[in-house]
């Protein structure tokens, strides 16, 4: 068990994230060089603006949003989509539609308080909507507790409803059809069995796997479907949001440690089979490992999905930057190929999160065999 910490760190390092970040840097350098040349030649100011616009667009896309914008027309300054409810806790519950913000352009006045949307966050301001900054250009206005039904919350609800619909249908089809699934259940059942036979049983063991099945199945399909939803033009980025991955990793952490047996804690605080001095040295490292394991889960999912979105959107953005008969089709082909890769990554990340969770559960319930 003392190897786990090392392997965890290695896993994080070997992760595809590193490759993706390198790719982003390479692309960024390549494009900036190209731009330097072009702007020298033409002295065109507009292209630099396009670049910042793309960057802002990507940044905006990666963040959660208070309204569900499907697309927007910048020239006409029109946004097509629908507003979502904003729920604030600021000396009492404040509930209003996000249309009051007008996409951050106006100040929303509720019960005598003024709120402004700034970089996808709600700040309390005065009537004119002044945002005060500190020396690092961070807003210093107070932030009310924001429980809004944001775009990500809507996506989670949507996927939750879809999952409930699909799997309760599958469960019912067994009763109707004498234990044999029908229709889409024929596709879903092998996936459920995959989680059971390839993830739960090998990692947890025949004896204990049953009580973890509900979590493993839910988390697997939840992450997978949200990853796939992120690939659609709806442009949601739920699994690439740190709050979501933190929540998922926290649940894994809680389940691991609340169901852990004596043997697991024994291996952490008083490693059997090593000299007493080593036991003392290993205890803090192992204790650190308890937190690093779910932390790595959180970072891995967040970084992989965010990096995937950034890479694809950057390459799509390059199509508009190149504006040439060679560059744009090349970017298009590359973004197409990467999209297919991301489809694979969507399933792979769901698998990895579920598999590692199962592995941790397996460690927590392992029986002593010395």
């Amino acid at each position: 068990m003392h190897r786990n910490l090392g392997t965890e760190i290695l896993r994080v390092m070997q992760n595809r994230t590193v490759v993706k970040i390198l790719l982003i840097f390479t692309l960024a350098f390549a494009t900036s060089n190209l731009f330097a040349k072009e702007s020298k030649k033409e002295g065109n100011e507009g292209e630099g603006d396009l670049k910042t616009e793309i960057k802002e667009f990507i940044d905006h896309h990666l963040q959660d949003s208070h309204d569900f914008t499907l697309f927007s027309d910048k020239e006409a300054n029109k946004h097509y989509g629908f507003p979502l409810p904003v729920i604030l806790w600021d000396n009492g519950l404040k509930l209003f539609s996000s249309s009051k913000f007008h996409h951050g352009e106006t100040v929303a006045e509720v019960d005598g308080n003024y709120y402004k949307l700034y970089h996808s966050k709600i700040y309390k301001t005065d009537a004119s909507g002044t945002i005060n900054y500190d020396e690092d250009h961070h807003a210093t206005n107070t932030k009310p507790l924001d429980f809004s039904i944001t775009k990500n919350v809507v996506s989670i609800l949507l996927i939750g409803l879809l999952m409930f619909f699909m799997f309760s249908r599958l469960a019912k089809s067994y009763k109707k059809n004498n234990g044999i699934p029908t229709g889409v259940g024929r596709f879903l059942e092998p996936l459920v069995l995959f989680v059971r036979d390839e993830i739960a049983i090998p990692n947890i063991g025949e004896k204990n796997y049953k009580r973890y099945m509900s979590f493993l199945l839910t988390v697997f399909f939840f992450i997978w479907l949200l990853n796939l939803l992120g690939m659609t033009p709806l442009a949601v980025n739920v699994t690439g949001n740190i709050a979501v991955t933190f929540a998922l990793a926290l649940i894994t952490f809680l389940i691991t440690n609340l169901t852990a047996n004596k043997n697991y804690w024994g291996h952490i605080f008083w490693m059997p089979g090593v000299p007493t001095f080593m036991k003392v040295v290993l205890a803090p490292i192992e204790l650190l490992g308890v937190f690093i394991k779910p932390f790595s889960l959180m970072i891995r999912l967040y970084a992989n999905m965010t990096a995937g979105h950034v890479v694809i959107m950057s390459i799509i953005g390059m199509m508009f930057l190149f504006k040439s008969w060679i560059g744009s089709p090349l970017s298009f082909g590359l973004s197409f190929a990467l999209s297919i890769l991301e489809l694979l990554v969507a399933a792979l990340q769901a698998y990895i999160f579920t598999m590692l969770s199962a592995l941790y559960f397996g460690m927590a319930t392992e029986e002593a065999h010395h």
């Binding site: 799997f167 469960a171 019912k172 067994y174 509900s214 649940i251």
Partner: protein
């Protein structure tokens, strides 16, 4: 890290935990438990069916072996019976033969005894006849002797010749 902390939205975290746990509990009740149970039951059913098929196959084999054994036993019994019958037949034949032989021997012996006694009687009769004849011949010879000596002799000789021939 600073950006990560800045991006962290407590509201989203709250909704994620609430919705995820809610979804987990709902799915556990309405989906995962019935699904896994149904799949388990089905797998159990398949396993049982396979096992019972295997058992039936073994039983069938046992039955066949039994049949074979019974058939062999019957065959052996039949063979034994046939052998016994043949033995019996042979014995009967031999017995009958020996009995017949004994009977025949007895009959032959009786016949021989009868023949012997008949012969004895015949011989005795013959003897008495020969004696009578001899007396007659002697009487005739004596008479002829009285008439012609030569002729008497001749007569005796011829008569004796007849006797020997007889």
């Amino acid at each position: 890290m600073d950006k990560l902390l800045n991006d962290f939205s407590f509201g989203l975290f709250f909704w994620q935990i609430l919705l995820f746990v809610g979804l987990l509990l709902l799915l556990r009740k309405f989906a995962w438990k019935p699904i896994l149970e149904a799949v388990n039951n089905r797998e159990e059913g398949i396993k049982n069916a396979l096992e019972s098929a295997e058992e039936a196959r073994k039983e069938m084999q046992n039955l066949q072996a039994d049949n074979e054994r019974i058939l062999n036993e019957a065959r052996a019994e039949r063979d034994g019976m046939l052998k016994e019958a043949r033995q019996l037949k042979e014995n009967m034949i031999t017995d009958a033969k020996s009995e017949a032989q004994a009977e025949a021997d007895k009959i032959v012996a009786q016949a021989q005894a009868t023949i012997e006694s008949e012969k004895k009687a015949a011989i005795a009769d013959l003897k008495s006849q020969v004696a009578g004849l001899s007396v007659e011949i002697a009487e005739k010879v004596v008479r002829k002797e009285l008439a012609d000596k030569d002729k008497q002799l001749e007569l005796v000789e011829s008569m004796l010749g007849d006797v020997t021939l007889n």
